[in-house]
Amino acid sequence: MFRVLLRLRKGEPVKYIGHLDLMRAFEHALRRARIPVLYSSGFNPRPKMHFGGAIGVGVTSDDERLMLDLTEHEPAQEIMDRLNRVMPVGMEILGAEDVPEGTKPLAALNAAEYRITFRSEADEKEVQSAVDDLVAACEIKVVRKRDETKEVDIRPHILGIEVGECRMGKLVLTARLMAGSSGGARPQDLIQTLAERIPGLEAEGIHKNRSLGIEESRSQGAKE
């Protein structure tokens, strides 16, 4: 068995594609590219591919990680080129590497850095102070509406927020957030809580810059 790690872009044209549909589209591309993927055994064999985490509808990303198990060795670069020739517009493999045995599973990548773009008339100072308040708070309750309304504390999962440029009514924030099955903070949660603090703030785009391992993201936060 051979394993490759791929870095997938989910671009603007496919931002409304949900995670499962993105996986399906990728699976179709694997077949078109005739990548020798290993299949699971059993009644309904599935290609062995492991996605890092689920990416939300409406979110773009430059760093979706996925691992593929292959039946035969092929150069990672070759796999990337073949896939990119048959990908839908907006989906692109940005990097591929062979995975040596004993590599940590993708689950270790449980945080991500997001770039969130807002439409806002607020000035930099106002935004910065709202963000400072947010980071200083010991808990941040947000309400998630799904099947039932649920209140969660996202503060422990915010690793850092930087206020970027603020001009022409546009505002950019860079946020490092923890995800994972244990809860986590979603970029949508952050947007919701900021909108409550800064009047007239409206999110325009959410983009995942990169996936982060937890140690990596902590140490980055400490550097600041």
Partner: protein, 615 residues
């Protein structure tokens, strides 16, 4: 445009229905084409993307350098609300161009219950829904699909209808529009009316008798044909077939390769409209199908290939085809499926060979509960056929069998209804015998809807009350606990009967029903019966006149000026045979039954079997 749509997309369910960008979607620069064609389907993305006709037209139109064909589907109700609130005119998927800026909007109409959806799409596009209010105004609004064999109920909304198969004539329409668009829409319509297979309702007058039946449908001018003849593709072998279908991101109803192996069906079931309006039977050769299958597999990445036909197991090379596909593509883990299986043991065996995992049940359609009733409808299946078929199915590992029946068929008695219960129960007994335990038998009961161009086109449909009484009767007759029954809503069936056999006056009711809020009538949760009843009353129309009134053989029917190939004389003869319980054999297995299709045969073509009518 981009920004405005983007602001509402995050707020709607399944935004990927509207954003396109799928693999194999064709996006062209409008500056580089002469004709822009909006392929419109009046239901959701998931349904429309599964439609083979839409796939074929998208492919054949986009092969032309001078034409851009783009898709548009009915927005779901939440999207419609957002579009109306934000005044966003209905855009195409590929380039987000408002469809009213196209040269042609072509609706694919496969089901009468989508008529209000079609009006809603025209309205969302910012166009008047009535053709007369768009007389000078582009785009040209055309419609095709099986509903057009009776175009009258929607005649006032559509500029021109295409009757029959679209893959050839659509090119003639494009050529004509391209060459004569500058002359204006009325001139283009006049030229279109002269093409074989095109019906321009504005050039025909309808007059009525005192009893509300039709006196005459007459062309307004001498050069417009009295009878519109259906188009059909004789060289089916070489007809364009999509080998690069658009790959939807979201799951659709038919999410697999569709390979059309055969068109038409010669079995001759007397209730079945598809069985007459797609005649004659035409097959593609195994060699050609293998070649197309290979391209489809390479270009899609699907792992399942469905062999499409009204009756797939009737293809003369079906066994060899299935074997060849499995042999060649099993290493790539590609499976085959047969969406339509004839009720006999060898066909079940074949289905079992290809469907290794029996995750879904096996569906069979005996249609009626007694031999007498099946003889009346010419469903040439015996009880023994059914029993040996299900015995084979249980042996092959299926544990769930789904049986389709119809109630409300002509001459039906309570004995026929109880026959449904008896057959279903017998099927569970066979299951117990073969498997040693209880199978699941799902019985689905539809109500008969008489359709134009069938031997039963003159028949009365049972009233809603009568259908509901019969449903109850069947429900109580089924005492076997292993049998689960479901049935179609009889009110929907009644409405379908009105829309299927309506005349021009029904158009007003469709308009009013849409104004009363009807859309997505085919979706149970959106069907508003009261809105329709109100519409009939406001329009002064009695639905019973269209649904539950028997017609005499000499009545002029609203679709008599549409010639689908099967003659009225043949339909009448079949209707009379039905009355006597006489069956008519499949003309591919026996002699020619003289349905009239041979009139359409080009010189030099020959029938597979001797045909007295052709001699």
């Amino acid at each position: 445009m981009f920004d405005r749509l983007d602001t509402i997309l995050p707020r709607v369910t399944k935004p990927a229905r509207y954003t396109g960008g799928e693999y194999n979607a064709v996006v062209k620069d409008h500056a580089s084409v002469a004709v822009k064609f909006a392929l419109a389907f009046p239901d959701t993305y998931e349904i429309g993307m599964s439609n083979l006709g839409v796939r074929i037209l998208y492919h054949t139109l986009n092969k032309r350098d001078d034409t851009a064909a783009e898709r548009v589907f009915a927005p779901w109700t939440d999207m419609e609300d957002e579009m109306r609130r934000n005044e966003i005119p209905l855009p195409s998927i590929e380039t987000r161009t408002p469809i009213r800026e196209f040269d042609i909007i072509g609706f694919s109409l496969g089901y009468e219950m989508a008529y209000t959806g079609m009006l809603n799409m025209l309205d969302l596009a910012g166009l008047p829904v009535r053709s007369s209010e768009r007389a000078q105004e582009w785009p040209l609004v055309i419609a095709g699909g099986c509903c057009t064999v009776n175009p009258e109920p929607i005649a006032e909304f559509i500029d021109a209808f295409v009757v029959g198969e679209g893959e050839e004539i659509v090119h003639e329409i494009i050529d004509l529009v391209k060459a004569h668009k500058s002359e204006g829409k009325p001139s283009v319509l006049r030229r279109l009316a002269l093409l074989q297979g095109v019906y321009v309702p504005g050039f025909y007058d309808v007059s009525y008798n005192g009893d509300d039946t039709i006196r005459e449908v007459a062309p307004k001018d001498a050069d417009v044909p009295k009878v519109v003849t259906r188009r059909l593709v004789w060289d089916f072998e070489h007809a364009d077939f999509p080998d690069r279908p658009v790959m939807p991101f979201i799951e659709t109803v038919h999410d697999r390769i569709a390979l059309e192996i055969m068109r038409g069906c010669s079995r001759g079931c007397r209730f079945c409209q598809a069985g007459t309006i797609y005649r004659p039977v035409r097959e593609r050769s195994k060699e050609r199908l293998m070649e197309t299958a290979g391209r489809l597999i390479d270009n899609t990445g699907y792992d399942e290939i469905a062999l499409m036909s009204l009756s797939a197991t009737d293809h003369s090379e079906i066994r060899g085809l299935v074997t060849d596909i499995i042999e060649k593509y099993q290493p790539q883990r590609i499976g085959v499926s047969l969406p339509s299986i004839r009720i006999d043991a060898p066909c079940i065996e074949l289905a079992a060979e290809i469907q290794k995992v029996r995750k879904s049940g096996l569906t069979l359609a005996p249609e009626a509960g007694t031999q007498r009733m099946r003889d009346v409808i010419n469903k040439n299946v015996t009880e023994e056929d059914l029993f040996s078929a299900v015995r084979e199915a249980f042996k092959c590992g299926w544990q769930t069998i789904k049986l389709y029946f119809m109630i409300g068929l002509p001459t039906e008695t309570e004995e026929d209804l109880r026959g449904i219960a008896r057959l279903a129960s017998k099927v569970t007994q066979i299951g117990r015998q073969v498997m040693g335990r209880k199978p699941t038998v799902n019985v689905s009961i539809a109500s008969f809807v008489p359709k134009p161009h069938t031997p039963f086109q003159w028949r009365a449909q049972d009233t809603v009350e009568e259908l509901e009484r019969k449903q109850t009767l069947v429900r109580y007759a089924i005492t076997d606990r292993a049998v689960k029954v479901s049935w179609h809503d009889s009110k929907t069936s009644m409405l379908e009967a009105v829309l299927a056999r309506g005349d021009r006056r029904v158009g007003e009711a469709i308009y009013l029903a849409w104004r009363n809020g009807s859309r997505f009538d085919a979706w149970h949760e959106h069907f508003q019966y009261q809105a329709w009843l109100d519409a009939f009353e406001q329009a002064g129309i009695d639905p019973a006149f269209y649904a539950s009134r028997p017609r005499s053989y000499d009545e002029i029917l609203p679709w008599d000026h549409i010639d689908c190939g099967v003659t009225k004389a043949f339909l009448r003869a079949e209707s009379e045979r039905a009355e006597k319980g006489e069956t008519t054999a499949d003309c591919r297995l026996d002699r020619c039954s003289g349905c009239g299709l041979t009139r359409f045969m080009p010189r030099g073509e020959e029938l597979d079997v001797p045909c007295p009518a052709a001699a």
